[in-house]
Symmetry: C2
């Protein structure tokens, strides 16, 4: 009988592991055209927090009593669908279960893709080549349109999205500066990933001074993952024609959802563009990244770090870690 992590209750204020429950689901026998998958890794991403709430958003809320869903990779156990065979390694959008049936003609089945693990770890398809990496590419390249020599700032710089944003920006000839939540993370993005500078936003007492020091020519692109005081300080350093790419606002997911944004007068005077985006609206750019990213990865031009938690039952705690910034790199659960 498959084990599942389900949404037990919606958070009032901060989310906690008590909002989840482990359930034993009845065995579902795969029917004609169905694919049975053993889940190997599930992806734990900040945006899942939004789906725990009810109410309008860009993705439907999780249903109470039903499994959480996210990106995942798994192995095909059996298949009567012509496109899949037992032994295939697939990525897709799967429920938090150890075994899953993808029914013929379902959204779930349509989300499945065989992945090429030749020289690339299967977990890369949840991180740097998966949704977080695609998000970095779509936002920076497609929305931000960086020019060589420009300065790019990225918050949550050591995270799955931020670390990819920084490395893409470097590949495109930009200066890259980031903020991260520990000295280790700061050292990692500068020494391992080649950022031109970074600071620890938890201990930095003068954000404006840090930014002026690290971004002497101002900031042309702010790739925003977090919101809050760092974002406000970055806004003050934006140059004429700067772009603020609103990818995430993790600091506001729990509270302060309607906190007001940056002042409009500089938007007017400096011709600033502020733009939100949803990665799933840019399928061509996502495919482009799968090609570009895999090629750069095989050439050793991209690095990534993972923090892997063992055991499906620990997935709720893993999500809490991500929301609190306690992970370091792409956070995954090994099922």
């Amino acid at each position: 009988m498959p084990l599942a992590i389900c949404l037990k209750s919606r958070p009032e204020g901060e989310a906690s592991v008590d909002n989840f429950e482990v359930k034993q689901l009845p065995d579902a026998a795969p029917g004609d055209g169905d694919v049975l998958i053993a889940t190997r890794y599930i992806s734990v991403d900040p945006y899942l927090r939004g789906r725990m709430n009810d109410g309008e958003s860009y993705v439907a809320p999780f249903a109470l009593g039903k499994p959480i869903e996210s990106g995942a990779v798994g192995e095909v156990i059996s298949s009567s669908h012509p496109a899949f065979t037992a032994g295939d390694i697939v990525s897709g959008h799967l429920p938090w279960q150890d075994r899953v049936v993808a029914q013929s003609n379902s959204e779930r089945l349509r989300s499945l893709q065989q992945i090429d693990t030749d020289g690339v770890s299967m977990t890369a398809y949840l991180g740097i080549l998966g949704m977080p990496g695609q998000t970095a590419w779509v936002g920076l390249s497609g929305i931000g349109k960086p020019k060589e020599g420009e300065t790019v700032f990225v918050s949550a710089a050591s995270g799955a999205v931020g670390s990819t944003v920084g490395q893409i920006a470097r590949q495109l000839g930009c200066r890259v500066v980031g903020a991260a939540g520990s000295d280790d993370k700061v050292a990692y993005v500068v020494e391992e990933l080649g950022f031109d500078g970074a600071f620890n936003y938890r201990t930095e007492t003068d954000l404006d001074a840090a930014l002026t020091r690290l971004c002497p020519d101002g900031i042309d692109i702010n790739y925003e993952n977090v919101g809050g005081p760092v974002s406000d300080a970055v806004f003050r350093q934006l140059n004429t024609h700067a772009r603020m790419i609103v990818c995430g606002l993790i600091s506001r997911y729990e509270t302060g959802q309607m906190a007001s944004g940056p002042p409009l007068m500089p938007v007017l005077v400096k011709s600033i563009r502020i733009q939100g985006f949803i990665v799933s609206n840019y399928p061509e750019l996502c495919d482009e990244w799968k090609r570009v990213g895999a090629s750069w990865l095989r050439q050793g031009k991209l690095k990534y770090r993972e923090s892997i938690v063992d055991g499906l039952e620990n997935a709720p705690a893993a999500l809490m870690d991500v929301l609190a910034g306690r992970n370091f790199g792409k956070h995954l659960v090994r099922v």
Copy 2:
């Protein structure tokens, strides 16, 4: 001796006519390659308020003791420049003086263009075909990129920019709703200009209800000229993929310059784009509008209204009128 309106002092808080002084300038004899112009009309625009302040902006501040400058039309009195002849009607960027020398090789001379007054009033080149009309076209067409059937909202709807924005949007097949500062202005934009709806922002007590009533399908483009409570209410009605074009923030020119802006969470969730722009950065689109606008004007597809104040010495009071919304249509001073 030419008469000039000069900046006497920079405003502390609200601007007033006391910040200006009338000066008699020494006669400047035109030299070789110079053009002598008799100013006929000067344009009085909200953005001039920003130039009265010191400090960084997209155009240099006016110098203390020197004449204010703005768009103007005039007649060439004498010229030793090959491109101009006595009797030419020209538009350009001129000081607030009754007579002006445009020196050979100066910025001022480069700003001069002969205008075609066949079937079009010379004052149109300060309004619907001039900077305000170009601003409407660049912002709506170039930045907003409206699609047929979308809903466009515009504040300061009866103003020189807003009235053109609304009429362009109608020509492009959009639904157009606006806010204006008097019942007369509301009636004008609906009955004369063909807006689909409008309300008086000074007397409307429930902005959200008014917008829901007038924009039943939400708002796809907010062409922002004003800022403040109407802007905040419009932001709440924005649809997914909406664009907020920040053209002006007249409600914040005097005070509240750093008032915070709309919340970022809806920007993220609805993939909203907020973008400021400066019309002078889009010369090709400006030229496009001169052609498109003149053609529409001659075909009777565009209407405009002017409020004309007589006498150069009344220009400061005319600017105060514009900033307080006491004008109705494009505000001009006849010299």
